[in-house]
Amino acid sequence: MFVLFCPHCGEKREEEEFGYGGEAFIPRPATPEALDDEAWGDYLFMRKNPKGWHWEMWSHNTGCRKFFVVKRNTATNAIAGSWTLAEGRKAYDAEGGST
């Protein structure tokens, strides 16, 4: 169990209030109809699953019901920060868009 800061509510809340939303910022193919099955399958199903820092989405299910971005270490559950989707995108790009 850990505590997450919800950037919309401006408060730290218990993990139980949140729902996990999966990996953040998965680029959608610009021309999905041009992809072969393997590339489309990669987009749909393949995720990074790192041991270490991971950009992921959470939704504040019982509170504001909005999605936001969290950078969490999957090995230690250390949390580097939480951002709204727009702010998180900037931080993610500033890091070079990697885990």
């Binding site: 919309h8 509510c9 809340r13 218990e14 139980e16 209030e17 504040h60 019982t62 509170g63 504001c64």
Partner: protein, 210 residues
């Protein structure tokens, strides 16, 4: 077809029959504030046209700070999310308020929905009210400041909770009312639960046409 009538989701518990004035005999006092009006209001709070029009129509200024609420003249506006508010009002004022909101927001990007059938409210008071809430939710109610409203867990369900007077109010979904009430009764066993007399706040009778 017979006329639809108002019926509280906690009707089967017979709360009004058990109600008695609050005294020192129980640690927790609770009851349902039945048949209030609930309006879901959505729009861009950062847009002055929306905030001004909504505040004027309601007669209470829209709380724009996260997790806060504003009350006046029996009406309460709860901040639910950056673009969503819930307006709680006496049932008698509901249709007039809906009309004035819709008229005021005609040309503003917004949404006004009557959710009165979907929610009900429970009041919790008494010296052990805080203990009971700490049992049922993960939120730290002990550090909750007046004027705050939080959406948090209640058992496996969720509620919006805020402080009012000496006690707390829980706004909960009608479909979870039975579960939440039973959970509350069970959590209050160590302290004794009394059904509070709500004589001070007259509510619409059960069974009257909607």
């Amino acid at each position: 077809m017979s006329e639809p009538t108002m019926r509280s989701p906690l009707h089967s518990f017979g709360l009004s029959e058990q109600a008695k004035p609050i005294d020192g005999s129980c640690g927790v006092w609770a009851n349902e504030l039945r048949h209030l009006g609930y309006i879901s209001l959505r729009g861009n709070g950062a847009d002055p046209a929306f905030a001004t029009a909504a505040s004027t129509a309601i007669g209470v200024s829209l709380p724009l700070r996260p997790c806060t609420f504003a009350s006046s003249n029996g009406k309460t506006i709860l901040w639910l999310s950056p673009d969503e508010w819930m307006i709680v009002c006496p049932r008698a004022q509901l249709s007039a308020l809906l009309g004035s909101l819709r008229q005021a927001l005609t040309d503003v990007r917004s949404q006004v929905v009557d959710n009165s059938g979907g929610y009900t409210q429970v009041i919790i008071e008494g010296r052990n009210a805080l203990d009971v809430l700490q049992h049922v939710s993960v939120y730290d109610f002990a550090s909750m400041e007046p004027g705050r409203v939080v959406g948090t867990t209640f058992g496996k369900s969720s509620v919006y909770a805020f402080r009012q007077g000496n006690g707390y109010r829980l706004v909960l979904r009608r479909s979870f009312a039975d579960y939440i009430w039973r959970y509350l009764v069970r959590a209050a066993i160590p302290y004794g639960l009394g059904i509070a007399d709500l004589a001070g706040s007259p509510l619409p009778e059960e069974g009257v046409p909607i």
